[in-house]
Symmetry: D2
Subunit: 243 residues, 4 copies
Amino acid sequence: MTKVMTEIPVLDNGYVQLKAKDVMGDDLSPVNDAKVSFDRESNEFGTKEERLLNFLGREGHTSPFRHSFMKFEVYAPLMVARQWWKYVIGSDHAEQPLRSHDPLDAWNESSRRYITEQPEFYIVGENEWRSQPANKKQGSGEILPVTQGKDLTRQLVDMYDTGYKRYTNAIEEGVAVEQARLFLPSYGLYVRWRWAGSLQGVCHFLNQRLKGDAQSEIRDYAEAVNKLSRQHFPNAIDALVRD
Amino acid sequence: MTKVMTEIPVLDNGYVQLKAKDVMGDDLSPVNDAKVSFDRESNEFGTKEERLLNFLGREGHTSPFRHSFMKFEVYAPLMVARQWWKYVIGSDHAEQPLRSHDPLDAWNESSRRYITEQPEFYIVGENEWRSQPANKKQGSGEILPVTQGKDLTRQLVDMYDTGYKRYTNAIEEGVAVEQARLFLPSYGLYVRWRWAGSLQGVCHFLNQRLKGDAQSEIRDYAEAVNKLSRQHFPNAIDALVRD
Amino acid sequence: MTKVMTEIPVLDNGYVQLKAKDVMGDDLSPVNDAKVSFDRESNEFGTKEERLLNFLGREGHTSPFRHSFMKFEVYAPLMVARQWWKYVIGSDHAEQPLRSHDPLDAWNESSRRYITEQPEFYIVGENEWRSQPANKKQGSGEILPVTQGKDLTRQLVDMYDTGYKRYTNAIEEGVAVEQARLFLPSYGLYVRWRWAGSLQGVCHFLNQRLKGDAQSEIRDYAEAVNKLSRQHFPNAIDALVRD
Amino acid sequence: MTKVMTEIPVLDNGYVQLKAKDVMGDDLSPVNDAKVSFDRESNEFGTKEERLLNFLGREGHTSPFRHSFMKFEVYAPLMVARQWWKYVIGSDHAEQPLRSHDPLDAWNESSRRYITEQPEFYIVGENEWRSQPANKKQGSGEILPVTQGKDLTRQLVDMYDTGYKRYTNAIEEGVAVEQARLFLPSYGLYVRWRWAGSLQGVCHFLNQRLKGDAQSEIRDYAEAVNKLSRQHFPNAIDALVRD
């Protein structure tokens, strides 16, 4: 029996995590949630069940896919998180770090330091800088030469270093964290959150973010979500996610 | 160890069902979904965790309660189903019987009979008829005398019998099921559906439907939902459902 | 200049109403809500604007259609209302009559009678009874012979009369309204509600309920919604509703 | 008669805008949407109507407040936008600038430049830097001395300048915009969006963001939303927004 993966690393520091206990349902669930209309139940997934799922997906009868759920933990640059947020309806974000003024603060130990985690930044590798696309339908074009990439990466790391230094200095000299963070080049700042969605919601995310015109970084995350989810719902995802 | 209940009968023919595989999360889930902001995790539920849940509930920080889920199967009179629907946001109904013209039909075997289940009706018992309430804030008042109830029940059963007879006659003489059902006294007609909701959604339902001014019939169902759910989230529900 | 219709009668006693003050936006609204991304604005609707709407509809970029709104008042048999409810997400129903135990009661004058409106029922005309469809993809088939329809209508009216008489008798002898209504053949009972939705939500309803396999009665209502809405958003609805 | 304000400036470069045509409803709307249950209508807003609104707000009967709508245009730093997003359920964001790879691109003229707007940044004034709060329940504390503020502002402007220069250089030497933006200190970057919400949704936002523990910057925006909205729904907002 194949071992179930629960975490896939993405980019330089990120990951997507899906634990077995954070999955509700399997391929049979949408089948039986559809069949409740007829008071019937399948106990095994076979050809008929596959045909039913494909029928439901093709005809847009998505309600049976809204009764199964997954909860992911994601660690990704803010740039990616922003594109992800539009899929958050019905669930919610609880992000970290630097959210020192969320009302949640109140429950915390009085001795808590404001910054519970060292900020991490997404560093584009020397051979990972992409050119502008020839065809605007694509997110970006070919990889740029390494000599150019080397310089760009150096400049980016320098921005992160300077920004982070000014940020910590500001905090040390008494500036409120909520303002000090303006110094951070935050598109590259890693944030961590939990994302819970129905099977249909996850498939909607995959349909939009696996596509060639999605930004490369979020596509990497979508591929991790895809791999982790398909371990639990291979046929249902086939039925809803069109390549 | 106590055995986990998975089904509770309600009214004369109805039930609420919650299987273990249809639950995602436990009391620790909202705790840890809240703590992700600080990159911390609890592995055991103790006093601190209980305090955190109570804090979250009291202050209205409900987002961590939207990452745990339950899926129920319910069999209840249409009258009850109608009141339940307002809690269906984000999930969906797949009802039975008599939904012969839902597009779902299309996937079914060509030999399928239109009516897959014998209609069942909610029969108010002789000693279950309630008077109009003295205080309008309550749904209904005292139980009426059995002699009166006897007559009412007899009249109700007669309505069901006549309606059902005319309904089947109409179908036999070729009337479309979708029109024939107009003959049925449908408030009392049992329907079956699956209801999936987040822990917060379930608590919202409980807060409104356990109250004294809820209709007695749906309150019976809410109590079943309450008992089944508390087996999995005793502290979280305590934190969100105010008596 | 054409006068704007605000109400269209449907079935024997029903209607759909859309007043000018209950519409927010016009065809230019989704255009400009899409163009905010580029900080541009159109002041007149021309070929370019039409092309943009069609592009948005075709590619499934529906978010600009979620910033315009309409609010309808509908009076329809419960049978139709039940099919309508799945489109209510984000809005809400406030129905009448017979909802005597809704918490809303509490605000009302102490002298209020429980039943504020005479129940009305949907009576299928002698020449309106439909046969079972040959093709199950359709809701129903040909019209049945008038001689047969005459008898069916007579039986239906008799069910309504008997049910209504037992319902009022029960109330007069002290039964709580919430139970007494079990006597009513309620699929045909008219209810009144307000339905507010975004332009996208309304188009979703139209896409599903204008189709040939929708039940004839709700299709009649969908056609009324379609006519009323197209007065305000002719091009936007063309872009989103596929025949 | 008082002139209706349609735009209020916020921070150094931002604003909130609410045009008359982007408002659906007035104080009478939730009154009459509640009264539809009883088939009654008020034509004038008086003491009885005010009492009803207060009753609805106090008892949490919020559905009548979900049938009136407003659509705002907001121009605010990304830092503020991120806190706003959690209120976007049921509506949507269409942001600018720098979203060059959103699929929306595709509809645009082939000659379109990627960057349609000069980036603007939120510059904290010399006398606007706030200290860390003594009480963590508040967002931030007292204003810091101007001499210190002067230095902080200078450092911040320098970060913006350097970041923006590297960003434009990168684009000029062929880097894809979606990657180049990593150079920007983006928490301070102004973005523009449209936000449409029901009256209830707007009040929910106000209840959370007018509070003392909200971050000062978003509180400024919430006050603008409050002033603009109260011109149209003074009593309804009084009923739902608790100070």
